[in-house]
Each structure stands twice: as C-alpha cells, then as structure tokens.
Symmetry: C2
Subunit: 509 residues, 2 copies
C-alpha cells in the first residue's frame, strides 16, 4: 500500500520520503493513463466534459506534489549524500523533472494548455478546408508560448534544444541534428537509386477488402506469434493506435481499414514493441524512475525494432504468411516473398508521413525538423511555412504537395504545441538498428529464430540490456552498455543499404 503523506513525513530517511512522494506521483500518473485509455477506447461519446475535469485534477495534483518545497528540500539533502547508484539515478531523474516543472510558471502551463485545447479544432478545420491561414495565427501563438516556456527552463539555451529535451532529455540536439543530417545526405541518393531501379516489387499482395473480424483475428494471431503476454495486456481498437500502461498491464490498440490489412498488421506489431518494452520493466521498480521506461528515443527504438527488423523481414513472412493465408482466402496464392516485397515497397510519390516506407520516412522527419528549428529560432516566419515545406519536399523527395492539407497541415503535433517531438521518431529507428545489430552480435544471426517463430532470445536480450533498467541509466549510457558503442547511425544505414540494395538490385549498395 502506498504510504500516507502524513505518515511519510514522519519517516526519517530522506530517500524513503522522496520515494514515497515520487511513487504517489507515479500512481497518479498511471491513473491518468487509464483514464486516457478509457477515453480513447471505451468511453461513451458524451463523457468528455467530466473526463477533462478528472484529468485536469490529477494533473494539478501531480504538479503540486512534484513542485512542493518538500521535494526540493529532499533533493538537496540527498544530493549532498553518497547514495548507492540506483538511488542516485532516482534522484537525478526526479531533480530533472523538479527543475523543469518548478521553473515554468503555472499560468504559462495553463495558457499553453488552453491554447492547445483550442488549437486542435482550429488545425482540424484548416486541414479540412486546406486553409493554412486559418491555422497560422494559432501556430504563431503556440511558438511564442513554447519559446517563453523554454526560456523559463533555460534562458541561455537554444529554445528548440530545450523543447527537444522534453521528449529526449539525454541525447542532445546536436546529436539529433548530426544524425538527421547524415540520414538526409545518405538516404536522398539511396532513394534516388531505388526510384531509378528497374525492379518491380510485388505491390498487390495484400490487396482486397477484409472485414474487422478477420483483421482482428489476424492482429491477435500476430500478437500471439510475437509472444504478447495476454495476462498483462489486451488488444482494442482506437482511431489513432497507441499503447499504454505499466509492467503489470500494458495494452495495445490498433485500427482496421477495410483495404489496408498490411497497415493494421504492421501497426499492431509497432504497438506491440512499445507494450513489450513496458512489460519488461522491473516489477520492483514500479512507482519510481527505476521501473519507468526511458524516453521517446528508446521507446520508439522498441516499436521500430519489432515493426521493421522483425515484422518487415523475410523470415517473419516465411513464418507468419501461412497464418494469414488460413484466415483470408484473398491471400491464398501469395508467397512469403510477395509479402516481404509488399511490406518493403518504396513509394515515389508519397506526400504523407504516416504512409511512408522505411526510407522516405526519415526525409519527412528531416523536413519537419528543419522547419521547426528555424521557426523556433525566428529564422523562418510562420507565413512562409507552406512554401518552404513544399520546396523541401520537392528537393528531398521529388514530390511537391498540391495542397497544404497534404503538406504542412497533415500532422497533428503542432496543434498540440509539440515542437521537437518528430526527431525522436527517426532517432528511434536509428537506435533500433543499432540494438538489433548488437543483439545479433551477441546471439548470432536471428533469421532462423524468426523463421521458427522463436523470439525468446531476442526478447531476452532486450529485457536484459534495455527494458529491465528502466531509467537507471541515461539514454547514452544505456546505449553504450547495451551495444558497446556510442549512439550511431552506421547500423541503420548499413541495414537499409543492404536491404533495399538487395530488394531493388542496386549497384554499389
């Protein structure tokens, strides 16, 4: 049972007092997570006004518990002591949160919260009506507020670097920038080579119309195949698939579109990767940073590792295609190679990030990153976003959006006030490749395991080297301990060069 605050204050050990406090905050946060899952998955449509109040109350309570003077005093006391390494890690993580939350005035947080609440419908309407000007003043206001927010946290730092650290606190922005530049420099010619290739991959393997029941049965099949622990999880549908929860209860959602069976399967595998990370956190650490997942880069590395390195691999389709064929007659004649090709096709005219393949995806991210960075620094005016966006698409991807709805209005993130989030998608893919290479270095080539549907070794390696540590190590430390190297894009670039060089029979790759 969580300790009562009054009782906790009588406990003399400052570490235990900090732990009690942070455990309570964590429990309130997980309660809010259940409320959000409920809202997306099962809540009746008219439940919103009450749910908004409930979430707001929990958020205020967490904030007050974290920023109370008592937290600061305990941190100072503990920082002057020599603590065991695990406790040091807890103090480090709480300190970081405490400093960020205490430095930003509550009124500003509330102004951002209200502005984003209104920004969402404004963005939606602008997108529906292809009217960037309708969204522009809101975007401008959000940038201004987030700049102010960053300035409170660190007036001497680049505001965009401060915002990026909300999503990835330990890989600094220079690292992200270096990696993204390298992706841009190396992927642009690779994509160009792919687009000039004479090879035609099978593209209609998954063509057909599939009802929800079949798609759900297959989504459950794929989770079974990967070893999802149903005693600590469940599968539901949501308009925007996500996964959430704790090491005791980590749930997956997916969505079914009649004509996109492959999309629902890859999305399910992606969310499995997130949930599987959460399920690998230590039970004993529950309630403190030691039992909480590292940030977005590491989380996304887990979803991408399963989605791409497993779920878009040749041996995976050798293993899983028979199950699909048994479920749906439309795929009767398909071969694993057909499925593999369809899952790895590179598009030459795709404007939409969420529909992108493994290669072009990162150029979608690079474009958003460059635009966000320049918006925050003031080098780019909001009014110029559509043109710059379209120019960059033409330059990097060879396609020019005809509308802003298909261009700079396509993503929801800016309406949430999220600037600095996008890069973590690419960093996650890059880390996935590095971790997968390290796992194969330790375990040997994993193709036979995947072909046999045996994920124990791979998952055991991830549990041992990534999941169980929670936030004990910073992201760079975690990466170095798991892979023996600093964070690097080498493995990702090797992986895509080899895979797509082979698929498209490219010379020099």
């Amino acid at each position: 049972m969580a300790t009562d605050q009054a009782e906790s204050e009588q406990r003399s050990d400052p570490y235990e007092r900090l732990e009690d406090r942070i455990t309570r905050i964590t429990n309130v946060g997980h309660a809010a997570g259940i409320l959000r899952w409920d809202q997306e998955v099962v809540m009746p449509e008219e439940g919103t006004p009450a749910r908004a109040q409930q979430l707001s109350a929990l958020s205020s309570i967490s904030h007050e518990l974290l920023t109370a003077d008592e937290t600061g005093e305990l941190l100072e006391e503990l920082e002057s002591e020599t603590l065991p390494e695990e406790r040091q890690a807890v103090v480090r993580e709480v300190r970081r949160q405490y400093d960020r939350e205490t430095s930003v005035p509550r009124e500003l947080i509330e102004e951002i919260s209200e502005t984003t609440a209104n920004a969402h419908p404004t963005w939606k309407q602008a997108k529906e009506e292809d009217d960037f000007e309708h969204f522009a003043p809101t975007l401008e206001k959000l940038i201004e507020l987030k700049r102010e927010y960053a300035n409170h946290i660190d007036p001497d730092a680049d505001p965009y670097a401060v915002l990026f650290a909300d999503y990835e606190p330990y890989l600094d922005l220079e690292t992200a920038e270096r990696v993204l530049e390298r992706l841009r420099d190396e992927l642009v010619p690779l994509i160009d080579a792919v687009q000039n290739s004479d090879v035609d991959l099978a593209t209609d393997t998954f063509a057909g119309e599939f009802d929800d029941d079949d798609q759900e049965a297959l989504a459950r099949d794929v989770l079974d195949a990967l070893g999802y622990d149903w005693g600590r999880g469940r599968l539901d549908t949501a308009p925007h698939p996500f996964s959430s929860g704790t090491q005791f209860d980590a749930r997956v959602t997916t969505r079914f579109e009649e004509d996109d069976l492959l999309g629902s399967l890859t999305s399910t595998i992606h969310e499995f990767g997130h949930a599987n990370y959460t399920l690998g956190l230590s039970d004993e650490g529950y309630g403190t940073p030691l039992g909480d997942s590292r940030d977005l880069t590491v989380h996304e590395s887990q979803s991408r590792l399963w989605e791409n390195h497993v779920g878009r691999s040749r041996p995976f389709w050798e293993q899983f295609l028979p199950t699909v064929r048994d479920r749906v007659s439309e795929l009767e004649g398909a071969t694993p190679e057909d499925a593999y090709e369809a899952a790895n096709q590179v598009y030459d005219d795709n404007l939409i990030r969420v529909e992108a393949d493994e290669l072009t995806y990162h150029l979608h991210i690079v474009i958003r990153f460059e635009i966000e960075r320049d918006l925050l620094s003031g080098d780019l005016e909001v009014d110029d976003v559509p043109e710059v966006w379209n120019d960059k698409y033409e330059e990097y991807l060879g396609v020019r959006p005809e509308t802003d709805a298909e261009g700079c209005l396509q993503d929801i993130h800016w309406s949430h006030g999220s600037f600095g989030y996008f890069p973590t998608y690419s960093l996650g893919s890059v880390l996935a490749a590095q971790l997968y290479a390290a796992a194969e270095d330790d375990l040997g080539n994993l193709d036979d395991d995947i072909r046999a549907g045996d994920f124990d070794d791979l998952n055991g390696w991830l549990r041992e080297n990534v999941h169980r540590h929670g936030k004990r190590y910073t992201t760079p430390e975690l990466i170095e301990r798991a892979t023996g190297e600093e964070f690097t894009a080498d493995y990702f670039l090797d992986y895509v060069s080899e895979k797509y060089g082979d698929l498209y029979e490219l010379e020099g790759y």
Copy 2:
C-alpha cells in the same frame, strides 16, 4: 478546467474555495471509479498489484484534501454566514464528511483496510470449505475494529447506528428498525398464505439454455426499451453486476448464466435503475454534492423501482415479451402472463438472498439486520452466529440451512467490514413503492404507458422529483418533497399484498 489549488487559495470567496476543494476531491473519486470499473470489466488479470497502489494513492489524496485544516477553516467561516439554500446544502454535506473523516485516526482506517483485504480470501475459503470457524476470528476482529471506528465518530451513540449512517446518513436507525419490524410482521403471514395457496404459477417460462450473444442482444434490447442513453453509457459484463459513473457517463454491467435468462434481464433492469438515477443528476452540479446522488436508500429505490414496479409488472411483459420471442426460439409459445408469473414466483425453500423473490427477500435482510445489531451491541457472540442464523431462517422462512456456506457465510459484505449496509436494500424497496405510488398519484395509472413502452412520464417525474436534486435535500426532505409524506412502508405493503394476493388468489389480501 479544475482550478489549481494555489490559485484557489488566492480566491477570496470562501465558498468558492470550498467548492474548488470539493470539486477536486470529487474528480479524484470519479477517477477512482473509472479505475474500479476498469478492474472489474477490462483489466488484464495480472494488473492487480499496480491497480491496488493506484487506488490507494487516490484514496489517500482524497482523504488528505478533505481533512486538511483549510477545509475545516472554510467550513467554520461559511457556517457563520447566511448562505443561499443550495450552498447551505453543500456546506452541510461537506461538514458531515469532514467530521467523520477527521474523527477517525488514519491508522485505524488503514488497519481496517488491511484487515478487510485479508478477510476476503479468508471468507472465500471458509465458504468454499463450509467452515465458519475459519472465518470467525476475522469476523470478530472486524466487529471490534468497526466498533472502535464508530466510537471515534460518536462515543455516545449506538455503534451500529453510526455504521448504518455510513450508508444511509439521514434516515436514522430507529426508522430502519421500525420499517424492518413491520416488514417482518406483515410479510411472514403473507408468505405463509402464499405457500399455502393452491395456485401454481408458470415457473418454466424462461427455461432453456441461452448463449451469451442472445443474452447480450436481449440485455441491449431491454436497455433500449427503457430508454437508456447510450451516448452517456455502455453495457459490459462483470462477475458481480454493478453500475457506476457520473451524469456524463453512467455505465451498466450485467452477467449471463446459460440457464438464467430471466436473471440476466432483471439484473440488467436493476442496474439500469441505478445508472438512470446517475444520468438524471444535474450537469451544472457536477463536482459538488449538488451533482452527486443521495445515499444507498435512494439509490436502491431507483434500481428496485425499475426492476420490480416496471420490470416485474404485467404490462412490461406484454410490451417486452415479443422482443424476447423474436430473439430466442425457446420462448416461442410463451405468453406475457407466463412471463409475468415466472418473474414473480415466490420460493418456499430458498436459502439464498440474491436468489430471493420480492417477498422473502426482506426476511433475508431482517435476519442479517437483527444479527448485525446484536453482534455490534455485544448481545450476540460471533461463535453463536451460525445457530442463531439457522434458527431465524427456520422461524421466518420455514427453511433451515444445512450448511453455513448456504447460511451465514453466503454474503460477501461482512468480509468487507460492511455492517449496516443490508438494511438499505429493504429501505430502497420500500421507498421505491412510495415513489411509484406518488408518481401514479401525479401522473395517473402508468400501466398503459408501460404497455406502450413509453417511460417518458415516469422518468420525467423521477428526474424532476428525485434525480435532479442530487444531495440538495436530506433523504427525509427529499422523500417528503417528492411524495408529500414521511417515509412509510404502507405503499410497499399495499403493493405486495395486492400483487401477490392477486397472483396467488389469497383471501383477505
């Protein structure tokens, strides 16, 4: 958005400050309600350890917010002012809660909480093994703790009266006692007359085996027929059916047993009654006692009114049976009269409260009430419970349990430390009859409406006279305003005398 505590403290109006505080507590409570719904309905089985911590954290936070010095100071300040009637009601309700929670030491609450957590498996095992002695020491300990709890709240009062007030604060124990004695005195001869009647009612109308899909379709049909608002609700299954939520989102659960279609329908109607009350609370009152339901007597009056006065009425089956016949072929030849008789059959050998009919039910309650009262006063020793229980069953119901599993171990409530809860079941039935009579007094006989499936007038009357008031009036005030009379068992006894006199062709009824 809920107001921040720090911000609230800057607000000068003490009523607004109290309202902010109580709204926050209410939101935390509703968040906990969602977590409990989730636990019963959708949570994966291994989620329990984290869920227990989350609920415990929310409970501690509510307790601390309520019992903070600030709450007491605001109450004192507001009690010295002349407030509008609605605000007075809020202050009255918060004061009552505040006094009760501040008077019981937190350690005792925690001891009760730990003891009941362990009592549940002990009771379960004792019931499974028909071994009262295994449960006796725990029961003894719980009685002792609850006596101590009552003593903290009011050392001068009868402990059982104090405990009863946790479930029904405004109808005092003497009222409950008077009503229960009257039920005992009048129902024993009525049941006797029924058992001596030569009339054989149709009992096998709903006999058959019905799969979950058919039962669920029918449960949805019955909710449709009653006018359940699906935009603010949902139907799921749970091992122990319940309903929970707010005026924005009040959910129903039910359960399906293959051979008990009638049971799932009546249970669904019962839970509809609870949810329908919640949905009738005022939106503006959300967050304060004005938007919260009155206590167990009034809540149970709503479930019983729909379950019994509507769902076990002749016109209801004239209206609804065709739907059942369309869904399940087993009922093809059944008439509404057959269904009405089956739904109102009085058992002459039933030992189990939850399987009882509308008449014998209250003797099950009377027995528990008399035993609880004597246990709390010390007039009855725990060791003597089985014998006294069995004697009373023989005396009031003419049946003697052969095992304690079917006797004093059958109900879960004592293992929860709930003493004083049972009477509210009977008080709810009694109030249901009084309200239904008052509604018919205002609206005219409702049989034609029910036969036509038109519940607008009845529900409108309940909304107007009961639901919308929330906790604005105390229970006796609410009853008197709605019915023009004090709380009385007259209407219930008239209702059952007429109904069962007619069904069983009893002389003198």
